[in-house]
Symmetry: C2
Subunit: 440 residues, 2 copies
């Protein structure tokens, strides 16, 4: 993509309303724009990252056997009256009346609707286990939205729902999502720790939050430091097999959110191994048994011909919030430092002197070759000061920069800079593509 | 994907509420489920097609130089008061009040919000031309939603917005979208005819609707029959070049919607060339000059230092409605016949006798090999009658079926059936993959 044809409205000043670094950088880098309190437009650069995160989440859900569908944003109030949550939810639920005076709401979560879909079409134990998920915009009317996309009102969430014949099978479904989440956050470049968590208004008795540690985290969390370096299940993990060993290992040491914190148990951990820090919740999984299937009469017929209510769990990932979480974890004083897996472009190509015949022709050549080699390149082909171009590239945090100036070209060379380390080297014009392929 | 692990709730009966074939087949094939009047869940099979359509629309927008972003579903009422459309829109607009008593609405379209984004960040003629688009869920509170996804209330639309310094440049932007639409619908397997159209509440003086002919179309349309066979610009079309010749050719014969119909002009066409038919609108493009930029003070500074209001156009494609449109155009009495470009899977693999050692092992082998060759295969590995499996495969309309039965296997053969033609042939087990590659 040529920057001259892109839409990247960089802000030079730090926006006053942004209290935390991720919010500040997302606004400055032209990734988002606030339209109302807690409601954002995703500008092209932000949308690209959002879609990459979404795709990694999707791939790991699919790998774990979950099946994607898409429920609408608007839900009928009736379903929520059936489950009993219509009144419970309070003012965070955005309630709407349509032209025929029917009560609707903008879905904050989908337990009710998915249970309704399930009960209307699944009747037999033969169709289980089943895990259905979607990645859809939700709305929670937070009284004080803040921290940009970290606590917005309209936000993108992946929510999966598992259906099983009994508790044992439901726990296996829970394990599959547990392992899928470990893999997902790892691929996103994050160290996320599963911590015992409160179930809140979702209900149920088994729940983990996946937490990344960050000074700007919204709550205090407590865990054993082994979790920072524990091995993540690789590509070969068998989701049809027994995952209980992995889950046992990942829950063997102390890890709890503030609500579930047990001071005595934590103090039993040796002091050198204790971590008390602030954390950001990026995922939350629940097993809640028959809470919704009982209330909404979602039954299946077992092998013995008897009807039983299905055992359910739900599994959320805050997709839009993850952009904030990743930036909180991956930045320096000059801007964002994207993990390669979610970077909006692979490489930034800087023409230090746009209009100059030599730099233009070298840049065009590099741009074409990198594109042919499968790289997604953002080419700063605009007129303007080199200094401003460097600052923009550092701010938007692409993994690599290729810098083309008239002086280097005289000896047939361009500069390559790695954003994360700041390491620079000169390479010959002809070697740029090979060098980048080697770094892939 | 193995059907035993998928979620494909086929309906055996024709649903009473479905008046037209696309609605009937979408419900029966387990593609959608109605949650409220005009509001649907997209079940896995339907979602796959929706995403394929969306991706083709996206690729052609990008090719034409438009840049993708994503605006939120919720919009502040203030923007619509600024443009003057807040009251105009009437009861079709879903109005919402949040917990702080602020007026919001579920966006039915985005002229106001995109103009707001534009005016806050684009100041100079150097940044033009610019075309920004998004693919987002919209809501129109239709008084009588019907025909399934063809006239739903919550629907997915691609809407692009162009910004130019003057009318001449804006007309070039209009031409780019005109040509992009010709290509888009062609890739979707449709014959869409651009017809002179009324601008309605969007405003402006230049507009075309892209119409596909279908007996179940919502309105009457009139055109020259040459449009049914006119050549579509190929992959080599240069969107940086002059497209006016293509547009002139595609507007040289009579073509008009009911609102713009001119009986006398139509009758001047020779009778053998006249088509009066029913049509389905799948795209609509507008040039409306400075209507919104005047009202909302969206100006840019020209090369001469003077501020001028930008000239705008907007360009919509009904992405979710297209599923209905494609099925109306592509079906027979047994079900859907998907164009290859949007088929939810490439091939349906039928195990006629699941559980039988020979058919199981042959199917597993074919399933793996086809997958390795890059085909997306839906494998019906469930127990059950072969007849029901055939009916399901015909209903969901995948381009090819590979049918594996014990009798054929005795001579080392399986059957291949082309859904569109019904043509069947026996091929040896080892030749299946090559045969399918040859058909790609």
């Amino acid at each position: 993509m040529r920057l001259s044809r892109y839409f990247l409205p960089i802000l030079k000043e730090n926006p006053k309303e942004a209290e935390i670094v991720s919010h500040r950088y997302m606004l400055r880098a032209g990734m988002i724009r606030q339209q109302q309190a807690g409601i954002y437009s995703w500008l092209p650069l932000g949308l690209k990252v959002l879609r990459k995160i979404e795709q990694i989440v999707r791939e790991e859900q699919n790998r774990a056997g979950a099946v994607e569908l898409l429920m609408p944003t608007m839900q009928p109030a009736d379903l929520w009256k059936e489950s009993g949550r219509y009144d419970d939810y309070g003012k965070e639920m955005l309630r709407i009346v349509d032209r025929h005076e029917r009560d609707m709401l903008f879905g904050p979560t989908n337990e009710e609707m998915i249970t309704d879909i399930f009960r209307s079409s699944v009747k037999s134990y033969r169709d289980l286990p089943l895990n259905l998920y979607h990645i859809q915009w939700k709305f929670r009317d937070e009284i004080r939205p803040r921290f940009g996309v970290m606590r917005g009102r309209e936000f993108l969430m992946k929510d999966a729902y598992s259906f099983d014949m009994d508790e044992e099978s439901a726990r296996e479904a829970y394990h599959r999502m547990f392992v899928a989440y470990l893999r997902t956050f790892k691929r996103l470049g994050l160290t996320a720790i599963p911590m015992k968590a409160d179930t809140g208004p979702i209900g149920g008795d088994l729940s983990h939050e996946f937490i990344i540690l960050a000074d700007t985290g919204e709550s205090e969390v407590f865990c054993h430091k082994d979790y920072l370096s524990k091995e993540i299940p690789g590509d070969g993990v068998d989701f049809d097999g027994d995952l209980s060993g992995i889950v046992a290992d990942w829950t063997s040491e102390y890890a709890a959110t503030e609500e579930m914190h047990d001071e005595a148990a934590f103090n039993a951990v040796s002091e050198a191994d204790r971590i008390a820090a602030r954390g950001i919740e990026v995922g939350h999984i629940f097993y809640f048994g028959t809470k919704y299937s009982d209330a909404m009469n979602a039954k299946v017929t077992g092998a013995d011909g008897k009807d039983v209510p299905v055992h359910m769990g739900s599994y959320g990932v805050g997709v839009s919030r993850l952009l904030g979480g990743i930036i909180e974890a991956c930045h320096d004083e000059n801007g964002i430092v994207w993990p390669k897996s979610v970077a909006p472009f692979d490489i930034g190509l800087i023409n230090m002197k746009a209009g100059n015949e030599d730099t233009n022709s070298a840049c065009e050549q590099i741009y074409e070759r990198l594109g042919n080699a499968g790289f997604d390149v953002l080419y700063d082909d605009r007129s303007g000061q080199a200094g401003a171009k460097f600052a923009t590239m550092d701010l938007i945090g692409l993994p690599w920069q290729v810098i083309v100036g008239p002086r280097g070209l005289k000896s047939g060379e361009v500069e390559i800079k790695e954003r994360a380390t700041g390491k620079r080297e000169m390479v010959s014009l002809d070697a740029v593509v090979e060098r980048m392929i080697a770094e892939k």
